[in-house]
Amino acid sequence: MAKRSGGPSNTEIDMTPMIDMTFQLITFFMFVMNFSEAEQDDRIQLPSSQLAKPADGVIEKPITLQLTNAGSVIYAGELVAVRDIGAYLEREKTLMIDENREPNSATIIVRADGRAKTGEVQDIIRICQEKGFERFALRAQYDDRR
């Protein structure tokens, strides 16, 4: 009579392909992860442009003002009316002067929604100018369709 091989057999699973794939996935996620501290808000739909140059270097201590479609400004994560940003900019200016920096050396990044009114963007620029800021970066989504 043939003898049956009974009992639990120790089946070895080859883990190598799974570990390889997992490491490749980790590498992928590490590469695509965004470590930049740039202020970006999902509520803003930036207009796109082929000529909006990605910044060559890091803009040193920029002030980011994000204008929503509804006409409010997102400043440091807070919703502020356009006419009220002057007070916040004044505070920024005081801080800069304390650090021996001139307001005209700072860059104001304007991230305005494409559907926002141009006049509101101009209002923001005018308020900034009144506080002594004169460098502006109008941010747009980089469109690389060539």
Binding site: I19, N34, L51, R115, V121, E134, L138, Q141, Y142
Partner: protein, 161 residues
């Protein structure tokens, strides 16, 4: 004679992979959860001191500024474009007019470098149109390369109403 165990020479050392796989999966979960896909962004750099905005005082700039008027329709869409008072059909034509005015050369001391464009946009105009206009005057893409045109850009003070 004592028989040597044949397995003595080729002993397979079993490494316990479980902690490593645990850590690797935790790392992967972390990266997957924190992943935020962001489209690349770029800037149009504008230097606009208040004095220049308030009064366009004649200075050593021999070239008069090009004035681009962008008018809005009732819903904020673009109704018309005019360059120095002359109607322009669209942004492509605006770019062609700019190239016709300043030439294709944008090197140092070129006309393109000296010329300034002043945008006069209606208050209610959707901002996307201004970005399109800035794109049209500031350069073009030719064979995948960006050819710069006018870099000096300013806005007229906002006019509500």
């Amino acid at each position: 004679m004592a028989r040597r165990s044949s397995s003595g020479l080729t002993d397979k050392v079993e490494i316990n992979m479980t902690p490593m796989i645990d850590v690797v999966f935790q790392l992967m979960s972390f990266f997957m959860c924190t992943l935020k896909v962001i489209a690349p962004e770029g800037d149009f750099d504008i230097r606009m001191p208040i004095a220049a905005a308030a009064a366009a005082a004649p200075d050593d700039q021999q070239v008069p500024p090009v004035r681009v008027k962008l008018s809005a329709g009732p819903d904020g869409s673009l109704a018309s474009i005019a360059m120095n008072g002359t109607p322009v059909a669209d942004f492509d034509e605006l770019r062609k007019r700019i190239i016709g005015l300043v030439g294709a050369d944008s090197g140092p001391n070129s006309l393109a470098e000296k010329t300034e464009v002043e945008f006069d946009a209606d208050y209610a105009l959707k901002y996307v149109n201004v970005v399109k206009a800035i794109t049209a005057v500031s350069g073009k893409v030719e064979n995948g390369q960006v050819v710069e045109l006018i870099r000096k850009i300013k806005f007229t003070p906002p006019k509500k109403g």
